[in-house]
């Protein structure tokens, strides 16, 4: 199948409606997390879900657009991290494609891979645009590391990874459970989901 055909198949009207819904899930699920006062974000669960059932490109697009829309309606700063959100979707989609989302330990590994992948993009943005600071609680880690004599770059690397690892593993697990609970009728519309279900 040529790339063009694959893209056409990956972006049917069904997939488009799915991506639109997933973008909204990314944005609103934060409300549940803050309702429960949990120390995670879960703001890429829709992205990972789409990546699992519709492939890395669709996943990447979901992440990218989520942050652009965020930028449009609540905080333009979020738009700066759109490439990061995109990488999360692509990485998750590739993990699924190569069969990592079949066993629980594979899901943990995927969470780690996603974290590493997003760090590669997030770190330069954080350092060059924001001087390593994002105005969240994670900045204390950066401050502490700088105080102990680390350079800015390594301080940010450690911060980004510690800040994201738990969140991305939890996200990967939730998305995995959800795909396993999808109805047959839905799965039949998204053949890629079979790579997740044994």
């Amino acid at each position: 199948m040529s790339l063009k055909e694959q893209l056409k198949k990956d972006f049917s009207t069904f997939t488009l409606a799915l991506i639109a819904v997933a973008i909204v899930l990314n944005i609103v699920i934060g409300q549940i997390v803050s309702l429960l006062k949990l120390p995670i974000f879960l703001d890429s669960i829709g992205t990972v879900l789409v990546a699992l059932v519709a492939g890395p490109w669709a996943g990447g697009l979901t992440g990218l657009l989520t942050n652009l829309i965020w930028g449009l309606i609540t905080d333009p700063v979020a738009a700066a991290f759109a490439p990061v959100a995109m990488i999360i979707g692509i990485a998750a989609g590739l993990c699924a494609k190569y069969g990592l989302f079949k066993k629980w330990w594979g899901v943990i590994i995927s969470g780690v891979i996603i974290t590493v992948a997003l760090s590669i993009i997030a770190i330069p943005i954080r350092v060059y645009m924001f001087g390593g600071i994002t105005g969240s609680g994670a900045d204390f880690i950066t401050a502490y590391l700088l105080a102990t004599g680390k350079d800015l770059f390594s301080a940010v690397i450690i911060t980004v990874i510690t800040d994201n690892l738990l969140d991305k593993i939890v996200t990967a697990f939730l998305a995995w459970f959800i795909v396993k609970g999808l109805p047959k009728r839905f799965i039949s519309r998204t053949p890629r989901a079979n790579a997740v279900l044994e």
Partner: protein, 262 residues
Amino acid sequence: MTLGLYTAGDSWLHRLFPITKLIFSLSAIAIIFGGPNKWLSAILPGVISILILWSAGIAWRALKLIVQLLTPIAVILFIVHGFFGPANHQILMRLGPFVLGQEGLMYASLIVVRLVSTLASSLLLVTSTHPGSLIQALEQTGLSRKLVYLLGSPLLLLPQMARRIQTIRSAQQSRGLETQGNLLQRIKALFPLVAPLVFSALVDVEERSLALEVRGFSAPTPKTNLTEIPDTTKQQVLRWGMIVIAVCFLVFEFWRKRNGYD
């Protein structure tokens, strides 16, 4: 929640073709981060943006937003880089065991100025443009309807889904789910709240896609638009002008760096 940043109005800025404002913001951001003379490139676009916002009568709102969004970052930036900046040499002040360094402060200031400028120029776009108009303008400029759908429909879907969270929470509480209490209880409540939201949204996807199909969303015919947002030749020229200026700045800076002027 949906149209959080947009401020309704009828100023000249509001009436501008959205793409003109978009190009302004993008050019400004390019110059802020890649223009020659770090400080001047960082400050100038911000000042121009604020002046424009002021003439459109929404400068106060934009400034308030800037303060709101950037204060935490700015404060932490000054503290972190001021006291722990890796490049600190010149000592300005001692506070117990902590040392305030000039290099760190200058670096933090530059970042803050850049962020203020960036935010001001993007707020110029988003506070004066209804998201719907921006998306329609993108469509008029040739963006595919599929992408337009992906940008547009989440905006309108958001409030509905946000309401659904409340219903799900009530439904699960009625089944005895405790959503407050200790950390373990709260962790346990996560899946029963998240999963119905996701599942119910996904169940709707099929019906939503069918509804789009029967209204010709993927019809092979060329599309038309009921209304057009007016654009002018003047604005077209202006847009190209801004792009040219931004590119010139970037090329100049690139050339300067290559020849070792820094």
